[in-house]
Amino acid sequence: MSRAAADILIVGGGPAGLAAASAAARHGGLSVTILDNNPFFGGQIWRPQTGIARSARARRLFKEIDEKAVTIIRNAEVFAAEADDRLIAQTPAGRIDLKFEQLVLATGARERFLPFPGWALPNVMGAGGLQALVKCGLNVAGKRVVVAGTGPLLLAVGEYLRSKGALVAAIVEQANSASVYRFARGMLRSPAKLFQAAALRAKLIGIPYLADSWVTAAELARSPIRNGFAPDASGREGTLSVMFSRKGKPETIECDYLACGYHLVPNIELAGLLGCEVVDGHVAADEFQKTSIPNIFCAGEPTGIGGVEKALIEGEIAGLAASGHKDKASVLLPRANEARRFADSLNAAFALRDELKTLADDSTIVCRCEDVQYGKLKEFDNWRSAKLQARCGMGPCQGRVCGAAAEFLFGWKTGSVRPPIFPVRSEDL
């Protein structure tokens, strides 16, 4: 086991964490360490393909933390905490023990998956998940892809896949067109016109954007699809028939991949483990991003899903406040408020519709680690009973996938966090 100590420790190397690290190191005098569980920093949004981020803003932040001699720890997954001032992380080289004076949590978010018949088939995956696979080398050139679910991420993914040569057959958005339109119009006043720009580009490159539409089921296609991609012997490249409801009418579309994500779920497990107050699924933080624990700050998605702008500004405020420069952080507060207003309108526009609760049938698997079907879960009236009796959420993902689905489907509270918050080699425990 190795040990490290920092005045300011930042968990998460996405936009919020990078902004926090840069801000915390800006005025010198304090040791700053940032760690991430990936080999490359940048988080889900700036996950670089080869170590070099595409975004100019990402490159600028990388340069800043490099110049300020911020200590970077890669491939480190924080799984436990000890005393009040230490985190324990697993790395390929073994366990590290990280002591901190001030802590900034920038743990980001993950996709929300909702079960529907066929969601566990091969080639049905998360929207961000498919994008990540492509970044890791999956070739989608010439493949037909349907991107479905909800939120601006679908547009970004559709556009990215298109840039890699995929034929994006449709973007299927569950939100109704009126609220998507209202949201897009609101974008004109927002700091970044990302959504608008993405929507525009998607349109320009000919991707149909279908609002009021949601996938109801997926099956392996009975016959090879039109453009000739027959299922191969392994079945892994099997083509899909995707059934969806479009403005109330059933339609079918065929494709090679269905990339499906229902907006995002904040990663609040570490905050919960440390005892930070959590309200309505988000980490409670004051205007300087301070949580209910005085030396722990939180920035970005865990305090409320809001995208990259909110993450960057909250990260910067957290970094300044944690390094004793609240005065310098004060001037940023109006921008943070604006980013949060944007987040509110985003979350309102892409709120999940109730029809999505009725897609699973009794045989649809909800907990994929333990193969627990929807029909079995219906027998229970709370998460703990479902866990104990049916093993729901008891597998290696620790309920990260089915927990968010169960909260939406059944209204269960899935709280309770215990170490290890990620699977860990027993020798590192």
């Binding site: 703990r384 009973s385 009796q389 170490p419 290890p420 027993s426 020798e427 425990l429």
Partner: protein
């Protein structure tokens, strides 16, 4: 007001077993639990059905209960994951091999078959154990069960025979023929059974039960990594000892391929937080016996509270000073095994029948001298 024949406080495995046994005897039973079936100590445990010989009385109850489990096994549904995988008591040196031989003789005298394994035989049975071990004692007839499923099964069995299960009300007070819940509701019953596990002495202060905290660790799925329940021969010293903290090598193969890794014992630890220092002692102990376990991925840890009595024996039977109020509590780490025997002893007492084994050692009115 409805008057039940029997009210059972606690829907853990002991309460569930009592409910099934009394319902079978045509008693009208109600089971009361504040949180739900098998949500307390039962949920936190390991589900090992084992003959344990810390004392003659402990052996008598575990041996009797084990026979009852063997009979019940035929009807247990798949969800109970019952598996007669056997236990291997693992010996590190010749002194422990001698201990194992004594255990074998003792078991043989009571009709339990067990065979000595030398190092070679031990490694054939469990290839992932350390080659430096001296051998072990294999008890083929022991088994493991998913105790939460088993408790639910016993409860369902009682319900099918007419029992009622009331969840959500916490029992506050027991008086003659009455259980008063926190909300003020009264449940009337001729016989009242305190099966509240680690909380039993809150209702019946005559029962000297303290919480003995334990930690468990579960791995991802590694089918075939271990095949038997494996326990170090020093386990009983850990279980019996009154030291504040102790750990012992005790691992269990689950039907899912997961491995449950125990065990720890702590007195005076009142909160359910994970104590990483004791978890590390526990895993370090396991690595001594099974070095390859170091590389396995752990997916969860949790804690639970064993209801411990001063003489390591449960309280089963009438509580002195009360009419028709009984205890079925204080089973420490053996509640899953001994639940069935407990239920039969209690049913015999309530119905005035002759019990299969002597109930004297477990009587709440026994004179407890701590050993």
């Amino acid at each position: 007001m409805q008057i039940f024949d029997a009210a059972i406080i606690g829907a853990g495995i002991v309460g569930a077993a009592c409910a099934a046994a009394l319902s079978r005897e045509k008693l009208k039973v109600v089971v009361i639990d504040a949180y739900g079936p098998a949500t307390g100590t039962t949920a936190a445990g390991m589900g090992h059905i084992v003959a344990m010989d810390d004392s003659e009385a402990q052996f008598a109850l575990t041996n009797y209960s084990r026979k009852l489990w063997n009979a019940l096994a035929e009807e247990l549904p798949l969800e109970c994951e019952y598996e007669r995988c056997g236990t291997i008591w693992v010996a590190t040196n010749e002194a422990e091999m001698d201990e194992a031989r004594k255990k074998q003789d003792h078991y043989a005298a009571h009709g339990i078959e067990a065979e000595m394994l030398n190092t070679k035989a031990l490694l054939e049975a469990e290839p992932n154990l350390a080659e430096s071990l001296a051998g072990g004692l294999l008890v083929r007839g022991d088994s493991v069960v998913y105790q939460i499923g088993a408790a639910q099964y016993l409860l369902d069995k009682a319900v099918n025979l007419g029992a009622e299960v009331r969840i959500g009300g916490r029992a506050k007070k027991i008086t003659k023929g009455r259980v008063e819940l926190m909300g003020g509701e009264i449940i009337a019953a001729e016989h009242i059974i305190n099966a509240a596990g680690a909380a039993a002495s809150e209702l019946s202060p005559q029962l000297k039960i303290v919480k003995r905290k334990g930690h468990l660790v579960i791995t991802d799925r590694y089918n075939g990594f271990i095949r038997h329940q494996l326990i170090e021969l020093g386990y009983l010293r850990s279980a019996h000892g009154r030291d504040a903290d102790s750990v012992a090598f005790n691992v269990q193969p689950r039907k899912t391929g997961q491995i449950l890794l125990g065990s720890s014992r702590q007195f005076g630890a009142e909160t359910n937080e994970i104590d990483t220092a004791i978890v590390r002692r526990m895993t370090a102990r396991a690595f001594e016996y099974m070095p390859r376990m170091k590389r396995l991925s752990v997916i969860r840890t949790w804690t639970g509270f064993r209801p411990a009595t001063p003489d390591n024996l449960p309280y089963i039977g009438k509580i002195p000073g009360f009419e028709k109020v009984y205890a079925a509590a204080g089973h420490e780490g053996l509640g899953i095994t001994t639940s069935l025997g407990t239920a039969e002893l209690l049913a015999a007492e309530i119905l005035g029948r002759r019990p299969a084994i002597s109930p004297e050692p477990y009587s709440p009115s026994r004179n407890i001298t701590q050993h």
